[in-house]
């Protein structure tokens, strides 16, 4: 798993490449938490290069989203692919989060 961050407009874009699974989820969660602790409020997770996510990864997302809500912030997503999209659909995450087809759409 590789994580890159960059700022565009008022959003912090977090791009994740590879796999978020039971082994890598703690590091993913730690990264999100340190960004939230630094005061970031609008996080966009770009998953265009994410091949896989399991329940541990979704748990990290939910825990971070709950914390962001407390801070009046928001977590949204762009460019979900095949298996990741399917997992979001089954878990109902597609309905509780804003998901955009492209990063440009998310920044509008």
């Amino acid at each position: 798993m590789q994580i890159k961050t960059g700022k565009e407009k008022n959003m912090l874009i977090v791009s994740v490449k590879g796999k978020i699974d039971t082994i890598t989820a703690p590091e993913f969660e730690k990264t999100l938490f340190s960004l939230i602790t630094q005061g970031e409020k609008n996080l966009l997770l770009n998953f265009s290069e994410l091949d896989y996510i399991n329940s541990a990864g979704l748990r990290s997302i939910l825990v971070s989203a709950k914390q962001l809500k407390v801070n009046n912030g928001k977590l949204s997503f762009s460019e979900l692919k095949g298996p990741v999209k399917e997992v979001f659909k089954i878990s109902g995450f597609s309905t509780i989060f804003d998901i955009f087809d492209t990063q440009e759409d998310a920044l509008k």
Partner: protein
């Protein structure tokens, strides 16, 4: 022709990738699409992690193993059997999390078992001779 392959590995998280790779390579031989193989890998990960976390109270028990069998049965297609000798645990008895709650109300657990049930065609659980036997019909 019916074929079958079995692996027995310690029920410890450091053996997770070994279990996933074993089943993925069986699935690849069955000519499943990459997307389907990824879904199968996800299900195996969720089952393996559950067993490694909860099935065995004594973590260093030498018998704390997981046995995984991949079978291709002419009448039933690709079948995966996962057996452990830990505490009885019937995943079919676990209630689905409420998927309609908003972010604040949403519980953080229960998704792994949901994926196992939703991504497989059929799931059966049996307690047999002191062992949990989970059968996944892909």
């Amino acid at each position: 022709m019916d074929i079958s392959a079995t692996i027995t590995i310690p029920a410890k998280l450091e053996f997770l990738y070994e279990s996933v790779d074993f089943v993925s390579s069986c699935a690849r031989e069955q000519k499943f699409s990459n997307e389907k193989i990824s879904e199968i890998a996800l299900v195996i990960e969720e089952v393996f992690v559950n067993i490694s976390k909860y099935a065995y109270a004594e973590k260093n028990d030498h018998d704390a193993n997981i046995e995984i069998t991949c079978k291709s049965v002419e009448t039933k297609g690709f079948v995966i059997e996962i057996v452990d000798s830990g505490v009885p645990f019937d995943i079919m008895s676990v209630r689905e999390p409420d998927l309609t709650s908003d972010i604040n109300g949403r519980q953080t657990g229960g998704l792994g078992i949901l994926f196992i049930k939703k991504l497989m065609y059929e799931v059966q659980y049996r307690r047999e001779e002191g062992r949990n036997k989970l059968t996944l019909f892909v």
